[in-house]
């Protein structure tokens, strides 16, 4: 596949996926407007945000403020490159795809932090620093559970990892993997119940000063990030494009949707965790569990 082909594929995937995710989230809130209204909700919302002007604060860091949504979307896009859609070599089959993905997801910290820093306003800034605490706490367990899937595959290529699941999906072979992955992925996408940087106790936190197109691009980039995380989740734990009868790409789509719906519903039904509890949770619960996952899976693979 050429670079241009991959670019078109990734962009299309993220735009469509982000749309579906926003619709799913809208349905999860439980307003009585119904499915039809939810389907047009993203369009109406985007139209409104495009009509609003971009506001600024007194002395913001303009460059950082414009860079943050761009960087977040860039990271979401580059994280999706190594994920194969219907065959091991489809997509940008990168030998060390897992490393690229892991690196991109941890740099999300920079995008979120500067988005909170840029407006020079107290509440967004607290949000940015909260996110730093979160990523430092879950970055290691997140990388560990993703890396563990490379052990039986003997490769860091995502295509090879999917192929290694032809007998048994890793969600069963590595039972701790997917739950830890979903929890840490929600945290990295600052999605509920870990939406601490954008919490309602900070009046919207990092996004409190953003309006119009700036808010639209930020929300879009975050939805795209969720899609990338769900795509990788299904590839390394749910056997990616493997599945009977249906074509491979359809399996990828179905499994991605399942993970997106799980994440969306958790975001709206679970209470936001306190930041101190979260740091404790990341280090004392998630990290040891992730280490157990590594060695248990290693033992099984031998």
């Amino acid at each position: 596949m050429t670079a241009l082909g991959i670019l078109v594929q990734v962009m299309a995937l993220l735009v469509v996926g982000a749309y579906i995710f926003v619709v799913a989230d809208r349905l999860m809130v439980g307003t009585e407007t119904g499915v039809r209204a939810a389907l047009v909700y993203p369009v109406r919302r985007l139209s409104f945000l495009l009509l609003q002007p971009v506001t600024t604060t007194e002395r913001p860091d303009f460059e950082a403020w414009i860079l943050a949504p761009s960087l977040l979307f860039g990271l979401a896009a580059v994280g999706a490159v190594p994920i194969p859609l219907d065959a091991p070599s489809a997509g940008g089959d990168i030998p060390a795809g897992l490393v690229l993905f892991g690196a991109a997801m941890l740099i999300v910290l920079v995008a979120v932090y500067i988005f909170g820093w840029a407006p020079n306003s107290a509440l967004p800034m607290i949000g940015g620093y909260r996110f730093a605490a979160m990523v430092l706490s879950v970055g290691i367990p997140f990388s560990l559970v993703v890396l563990t899937t490379a052990i039986p595959a003997e490769s860091l290529s995502v295509g090879m990892i999917v192929e290694a699941q032809s007998n048994l999906w890793f969600v069963i072979e590595q039972p701790l993997g997917l739950p830890i992955y979903l929890v840490t992925a929600a945290a990295i996408a600052f999605w509920g119940p870990f939406d601490l940087p954008e919490g309602s106790d900070l009046a919207g936190g990092i996004a409190a000063e953003a309006s119009g197109p700036r808010l639209a691009t930020w929300r879009f980039a975050r939805a795209a990030l969720m899609v990338t995380l769900a795509l990788m989740g299904q590839a390394v734990f749910l056997g990616g494009y493997l599945g009977p009868v249906l074509p491979g790409w359809l399996w990828t789509v179905i499994k991605t949707l399942i993970l997106l719906v799980i994440l969306a519903s958790a975001g709206r039904t679970l209470a936001r965790m306190r930041v101190q509890r979260f740091v404790w949770f990341g280090w004392v619960i998630l990290l040891p569990l992730a280490l157990v996952d590594v060695f248990l899976s290693g033992w099984i693979a031998l």
Partner: protein, 426 residues
């Protein structure tokens, strides 16, 4: 421009982002507005297109409301709701009526301002720099201090006393009175070091006028049906729970609590029980509330209602009433005294109230000068519990992380409409 028209046509049928300034007597109605189709109450004016000014505000609120108005990104429009003083902010329209009326008005004005039928409102405050420019260069560089001079007029944060030879900053900032995480009208001046509160002072300015007083105020003066009192208590607690759930990010359950508050009937305990079971499954206790907002042991809890009972003080004015005695009333208590105990306390008092209301028949409560209101003991003479809560904030919240501070303040259920005038605060 044709593109803009097309966008406006699409956007006007969508959700209206509303920033609400809630004056006296309108906390409940604004909460009910959350159930209205197509109204989305937002926490930051930057996200809003409509400013809703509900109920009565004091003269002192003018500047703060104008500031919030100007912070809206625009095209913006202001709608009043039973708001008698157009002097505070110029209103595009003042609606006198209930939730359906104001919903229709908000939707109409939103469509008008998007399609250009009415122009967006200009800023209200004068376009002058707040503080004189004291920087040397165009970016404030070249003077003394970290960035040299005072960029954009405002000074850099204060230097905290050195600790372990580490010099850190402290940021004094006033938050409120229209910060969605606080009760409407509460403004706090906090000294923040990082995200931790190192000093705190309550702004004694009154921003909301005295409340009209509901069934509990009436019960102080005349015999009242227990049924009415208890149903009002249940509704009040359910609305409070919806607020708590919103602050903790459980929007779905908050909506259910709101819906329950507007439709609950006497004796219908099961629906409340189901809601509380869902709240437990949302992990509200372990994730957010456990161990947060515990009061120091020397705080006097008498008369503080659910907050006192959540800390083990089995004190309830209803226990002394004959009518309640007939119904076999005994106060519920919890022991932990944290934010979750307060939530759980109010949840159980809600089911208890609905049960009592269902069995109360025509029994009357004779207030005899004291009535157990949802936020604590009200007496015919003397201050309301809100005064005591406001007075204790300073002690309770010092050293708290910001999120815990918001959770704690919400857990008290402070009604700023019943706070005494500044001179009376003890």
């Amino acid at each position: 421009m044709e593109l803009k028209e097309r966008l406006a046509h699409l956007a006007k049928t969508g959700d209206v982002p509303v920033f609400a300034v809630v004056g006296s007597g309108h906390r409940s109605p604004v909460r009910r507005l959350r159930l209205s189709d197509g109204i989305n109450l937002v926490a930051s004016p930057r996200h809003a297109a409509v400013l809703l000014v509900a109920g009565t505000l004091t003269e002192a609120a003018t500047e703060t409301v104008s500031r919030v108005h100007d912070q809206m990104a625009g095209p913006r429009v202001t709608v009043g709701w039973n708001h008698p003083e157009p002097s505070i902010v110029p209103l595009a329209e003042n609606v006198v009526g209930g939730v359906p009326d104001v919903t229709a008005a908000i939707r109409q004005q939103f469509a008008n301002v998007l399609t250009g039928t009415i122009p967006g409102e200009p800023p209200l405050l004068p376009n002058v720099d707040p503080v004189e420019w004291r920087g040397v260069g165009p970016y404030g560089h070249g003077g003394a201090g970290m960035t040299g001079g005072n960029p954009y007029g405002r000074p850099l944060p204060l230097r905290a006393p050195a600790r372990d030879t580490l010099e850190l900053d402290q940021l004094p900032i006033t938050i409120g009175p229209w910060f969605a995480g606080f009760p409407p009208g509460l403004a706090l001046r906090v000294l923040l070091q990082g995200d931790v509160v190192q000093g705190l002072e309550v702004d004694s300015t009154r921003f909301v006028s005295d409340g009209p007083g509901g069934v509990f105020e009436r019960a102080l003066r005349e015999p009242t049906l227990i049924r009415d009192l208890e149903m009002d208590r249940a509704r009040h607690h359910l609305e409070w729970m919806a607020d708590a759930l919103l602050i903790c990010g459980v929007d779905r359950l908050a909506l259910r609590a709101d819906r329950l508050a507007s439709t609950i009937e006497a004796g219908d305990v099961q629906r409340v029980d189901r809601l509380i079971a869902s709240v437990r499954r949302s992990l509200l206790r372990p994730m957010t509330m456990r161990g947060v907002g515990v009061l120091p042991p020397d705080v006097d809890l008498t008369g503080l209602g659910p907050v006192a009972r959540a800390a083990g003080v089995a004190e309830d004015a209803r226990a002394a009433e004959d009518g309640y005695d007939d119904l076999g009333f005994t106060p519920v208590t919890h022991t932990a005294g944290d934010a979750w105990a307060r939530f759980s306390q109010r949840a159980q008092e809600t089911t208890q109230a609905i049960d009592l209301a269902g069995r109360a028949g025509n029994r009357l409560a004779f207030g005899s000068g004291a009535v157990e209101a949802p936020d604590g003991l009200h007496r015919a003479e003397g201050s309301r519990p809100a005064d005591r809560f406001v007075a204790m904030l300073e002690v309770v919240l010092n050293g708290e992380e910001w999120g815990d501070l918001v959770t704690t303040i919400q857990s008290f259920d402070i009604d700023m409409e019943s706070v005494s005038a500044p001179k009376d605060v003890p």
